[in-house]
């Protein structure tokens, strides 16, 4: 039991908040830290994860092939990352849909994978339908990705309710595409505003960074870019994943004026709500 890995589902409810980017970055970060990692793209029909890692042309077998038994074992379908030997990807099928897989089958696959790897990261599709149910079926833990927007927070709250009902614990929060100065001006939800609703353990806060989009398009995760602020934030999240007690995330200390401004902004924010 002790050498069993952890299955962590990266989910959000709303689309476009950065689940796939997070999965790719956290996976690469964990691999860089010397862990054996497998990333599973459970978004059947809308395959993305391989692109973000720059591995599209290496796909021979996919998730549905593994589940249908079209390849000898899951190992045959795993794609090794360009940069790290200990990072593998199981791509999803592009020409099938979410009904091609059943929750019990995903559960069995996750059991197999966690026997062979330290971390199994599941990239969950948006929504709360079949794809979501499949993705969480085999998960032990969850990272809920959200943006500081009311719609993303509302959807995250719904997802957390469903994850709690499925006995997934711990559920941790990753606040993505955060703009500290905009939040300070009160034009965006602050960390406190988000936490007031979701009330989850915050595993990290990734600032908005144009480099992330660029690096995703190039197929090179931002976590490996030493100059990227987002990359730094992802590395902190990775540290917290490996050792939850160690590098507690500390918010930057605002000055006196910005503190006063923030007090007003929180009030304004809740009025507008």
């Amino acid at each position: 039991m002790s050498n069993m890995g952890k299955v962590i589902v990266v989910t959000s409810g709303k689309g476009g908040v950065g689940k796939t980017t997070c999965t790719a970055n956290l996976g690469s970060g964990l691999a860089q830290a010397g862990k054996t990692v497998v990333l599973v793209d459970t978004d059947i029909g809308l395959r993305n994860l391989d692109l973000v890692l720059g591995l599209e042309n290496r796909i021979v077998f996919d998730l549905v092939d593994v589940i249908d038994g079209k390849c000898r074992s899951f190992r045959q379908a795993l794609i090794r990352d360009k940069r790290f030997e200990n990072l593998q990807v199981l791509a999803s099928a592009q020409s099938r849909d979410k009904d091609a897989v059943k929750p019990e089958q995903m559960k069995a696959l996750c059991q197999e994978l966690k026997g062979a790897f330290d971390y199994v990261l599941l990239d969950c599709p948006a929504g709360i339908e079949m794809g979501f149910k499949n993705a969480i079926a085999g998960a032990d833990e969850a990272i809920v990705v959200t943006n500081p927007e009311v719609s993303a927070v509302r959807d995250a709250d719904r997802i957390v309710g469903l994850l709690e009902a499925a006995d997934i614990n711990p559920i941790r929060l990753l606040l993505n595409r955060f703009k500290p100065n905009v939040a300070q001006r009160g034009q965006m939800l602050s960390v406190a505003d988000v936490q007031e609703i979701l009330n989850l353990e915050l595993i990290g806060m990734v600032p908005e960074d144009e480099r992330v989009v660029h690096s995703s398009n190039k197929g090179e995760p931002a976590v490996l870019d030493p100059k990227s602020k987002a990359g730094l934030a992802y590395r902190q999240v990775v540290q917290r994943l490996i050792d939850p007690g160690a590098a507690a995330w500390a918010p930057e200390q605002p000055g006196l004026m910005s503190k006063i401004r923030r007090m007003f902004s929180v009030n304004l924010g809740s009025q507008a709500n």
Binding site: D155, D157, A165, N273
Partner: protein, 276 residues
């Protein structure tokens, strides 16, 4: 008594309804365990065998929530129930309803299980049992026929009077998140937040000890006497009987929101009183 107040850890809860016994099966419980628990619960000697009664253990309805059952699992469930007759199935899952209908059963869209419904009748029975045990410590050893249940009105009796209704309270100690809804034919006490997108619906009063951002409907059966009390009310939709408030600060006569308020209903308008 504590057992009644806290959330039951069981995956299966029984609820006495006008149409008979409703067995609520939580979705997060393993299916095999659920079957075992149903059998266990139905073997409870406090359930009467009176045909058509609220607690008739020989004819039950099932609340399966969003659990998706294949026809194989459904066959297993029916086999496990043995002689117990299934009156109908309550579920939010289309698949489960379709399967149930293919077995010739009545299937309705709905869900009560999430709120861990404890039927009013069942609660009253538990309370009386607890009181009787206090009076006679050896009550547990007496045969079922002599238990306090025999003294309670028969199952087909008219609904409990107003006093009893006020006592029936659902106690929830957690946060209700978006998409979660608690319905109860009595009062609701929520010790936690009511997040945006969640709902409370009670025939009686509603008391929320956390932050209110979700919707509340008190006195949902038309009881205009019902009241809502909350510690931190944010703009949302509150309803008491036919009165509706849609989050407009001006209508409340309060200086600001969020506020701690007691809300009552007069002539279809909600009245707000600060309670500090």
């Amino acid at each position: 008594m504590t057992q009644i107040l806290s959330m039951p850890p069981d995956g299966v809860t029984l609820k006495g309804t006008r149409h008979g016994l409703l067995v609520c099966v939580r979705e997060d419980v393993d299916f095999d365990q659920a079957i075992e628990q149903i059998k266990e619960k139905l073997a409870n000697p406090f359930l009467t065998q009176e045909p058509g009664g609220q607690l008739d253990a020989k004819r039950i309805s099932l609340d399966l929530g969003w659990r998706e059952l294949s026809s194989d699992s459904f066959t297993r469930l029916r086999e496990a129930l043995g002689e117990v007759e299934l009156a109908g199935v309550l579920s939010t899952s289309l698949q489960t309803r379709t399967v149930a209908e293919s077995f010739g059963l009545k299937a309705i869209i709905g869900r009560l299980g999430l709120a861990h419904h404890q039927g009013r009748r069942l609660r009253q029975e538990q309370k009386e049992r607890a009181e009787a045990e206090k009076e006679a410590p050896s009550a547990a050893e007496q045969p079922p026929a002599e238990t306090p249940l025999a003294e309670t009105p028969p199952a087909a009796a008219p609904p409990p009077d107003a006093d009893q209704e006020q006592e029936a309270t659902l106690y929830i100690k957690r946060t209700l998140r978006s998409g979660q809804k608690a319905l109860y034919p009595g009062n609701i006490v929520l010790w936690g937040d009511l997040n945006p997108g969640s709902e409370l619906e009670a025939e009686g009063d509603v008391l929320v000890l956390g932050t209110v951002r979700g919707r509340i409907h008190a006195g949902c059966n038309g009881n205009a006497e019902a009241q809502i009390y909350c510690q931190s009310l944010h703009p949302t939709v509150l309803r008491i009987a036919d009165g509706i408030w849609t989050g407009d600060l001006k209508e409340t006569g309060l200086k600001q929101l969020p506020a701690a308020v007691k809300v009552s209903c007069a002539k279809d308008l909600l009245r707000f009183e600060t309670s500090r």
